[in-house]
């Protein structure tokens, strides 16, 4: 299943080159709409980036955050289910975990926050150690070995993306260094990108500590409340010709990005 995903990425690598610029433009337009508070517009722009694009995971990540901002937690969780699925979990930076934790905090689902923290710890420790090695120039051979195949795009290192800076193959300085066969410049730039990602992990970890502190405060209030009842979960909506399948532990590659979530919200009186 994971192999099939990577095969699809490889096949579409060359075709995607022409689309990368277009996707970059869509991403920037979506970010501008998000910054202006036009969340609907931002969501539509993020949705235009196709699954075969190198920017697709990043678009889903930012779309999840947009849904959260707009208060549509069900859609945020649907995107987060795609992101934190076993297929993509190892390709993620720290931000989706923060978005997931914040969404669960807004829904008063504290048990799910702790589940997310465990996943974050498992993946980000591995990522931090790998990025530190890149920043310290202890993994130059690994970078050079991947750089030989970077013409394939993300597929060149997708199976070990957790060990490299996010989408580093799309960095213009990296691309120029590869074009001019300038290994020194390439390694220096990768080290810089690794340091930026380490900084992002550090900042996100601090934000997760804040969420954990908020959980401690709210837990006490919730435990004291007489009524723990939450509103009933809503019904799933599907269009006339859409197919519905149950969600199980077995993941099918055609199902990612097709999740719909109905969640229990905070008990009355304990909303954030």
């Amino acid at each position: 299943m994971v192999k099939m995903f990577f095969a699809i990425i490889t096949l579409t690598a060359t075709a995607a080159t022409a689309g990368i610029q277009q996707d970059r433009t869509l991403l920037n337009q979506a970010r501008t709409s998000y910054a202006s508070g036009k969340y609907n517009e931002a969501e539509k722009l993020y949705s235009k980036i196709q699954p075969n694009s190198d920017y697709w995971l990043l678009a889903v990540e930012e779309r999840a955050h947009t849904f959260g901002r707009a208060g549509d937690y069900n859609k945020a969780l649907a995107d987060l289910t795609t992101l934190i699925s076993p297929v993509f979990e190892k390709n993620l930076g720290p931000e989706p975990y923060f978005t997931a934790a914040l969404t669960y905090l807004r829904l008063c689902q504290y048990d799910n926050i702790y589940a997310i923290l465990e996943k974050y710890k498992a993946n980000m420790k591995v990522r931090t150690i790998a990025l530190v090695a890149l920043a310290d120039r202890d993994a130059d051979q690994k970078v050079l070995s991947v750089a030989k195949n970077l013409n394939k795009g993300f597929a060149a290192y997708a199976d070990k993306a957790i060990e490299f800076p996010t989408l580093f193959h799309l960095d213009t300085q990296v691309q120029q260094a590869i074009r001019t066969n300038n290994n020194a410049k390439l390694l220096k730039r990768v080290a810089t990108l690794a340091k930026e990602d380490i900084k992002e992990i550090s900042e996100t970890t601090k934000k997760l500590h804040l969420i954990e502190a908020e959980v401690m405060q709210r837990l006490h209030k919730l435990e004291e409340a007489k009524d723990h009842n939450r509103d009933r979960i809503g019904k799933f909506k599907a269009k006339k010709d859409q197919l519905q399948f149950p969600y199980t532990d077995e993941l099918w590659i055609d199902e990612v990005n097709s999740y719909q979530v109905e969640s229990e919200k905070c008990p009355k009186g304990s909303e954030i």
């Binding site: 649907a78 048990d111 006339k240 969600y247 099918w252 097709s258 999740y259 109905e262």
Partner: protein, 233 residues
């Protein structure tokens, strides 16, 4: 100077990384809080909701199929070569026309009976010649309803959606003895491989009236069918 700055920067990263790792490790470490949070659970229901990969709204499908037929006259074995045209109003319902060319031959029992007659005749025993009747072709109008759907993970090469369907039809059958009304009912699975390629596996009961020695008989056959189709725009 540049080298010194780089060395200092690298030392700084290495020193900080231990702190970052400790910071990550300390997340969720308050076991008491974690346990208390598990007592206040929030439930989420997740479902897969996806579009059909093949659009079957207002589309024609042309198909050919081969049937192995069981039942009917015990002295005859038949197979069908079928041709069908269906119009899909929606993924749930289609109507169409089916035409079957039937190929008949004597079964083992039929050969035995006719061989016995030939032997008897050659020895001067002029008993009645056995008679058989068999279909030559049939044409029916068919309505198909697709109430169930599913999908197959096809050897990890791709995922194919399918529909389970039931069908009913009515038409005319041409037999050696003449024509007969015929009706059919059955069930099958339609696989939609791409926007233009389909296949079907089907089991179908068909009823008709044949005539042997001027006596009409009500016959029923069961067809096991495999076919391929093309979906047109």
């Amino acid at each position: 100077m540049k080298t010194l700055a780089l060395i200092l920067c690298l030392i700084s990263v290495t020193a900080n990384s231990k702190g970052i790792l400790e910071d990550i490790d300390s997340l969720g470490n308050n076991k008491q809080i974690a346990e208390r949070s598990r007592q206040i659970r929030g439930e989420n229901k997740i479902r897969i909701v996806q579009n059909r990969t093949v659009d079957r709204n207002n589309r024609f499908e042309l198909g050919v199929n081969y049937d192995m037929v069981a039942g009917g006259d015990p002295y005859i074995n038949t197979n069908n070569l079928g041709f069908q045209v269906d119009f899909h109003f929606s993924p749930k319902f289609s109507v169409g026309v089916r035409h079957y060319e039937t190929y008949a031959r004597l079964s083992a029992e039929g050969e035995r009976v006719f061989d016995a007659y030939d032997r008897a005749f050659s020895q001067g025993d002029f008993r009645s010649r056995p008679e058989v009747d068999y279909p030559l072709s049939s044409t029916m109008g068919v309505a198909t309803f697709y109430p169930l759907y599913g999908k197959l993970n096809f050897f990890n090469l791709g995922v194919t959606q399918f529909d389970v369907y039931v069908l009913g039809g009515y038409g005319k059958m041409l037999l050696k003895s003449g024509t007969s009304d015929t009706w059919t009912a059955g069930s099958g699975i339609g696989f939609w491989w791409s926007q233009h390629l389909s296949s079907r596996l089907e089991v179908r009961y068909q009823n008709y009236t044949d005539k042997v020695n001027n006596i009409e008989r009500n016959e029923g056959v069961t067809s096991f069918s495999a076919g391929m189709g093309i979906l047109l725009w």
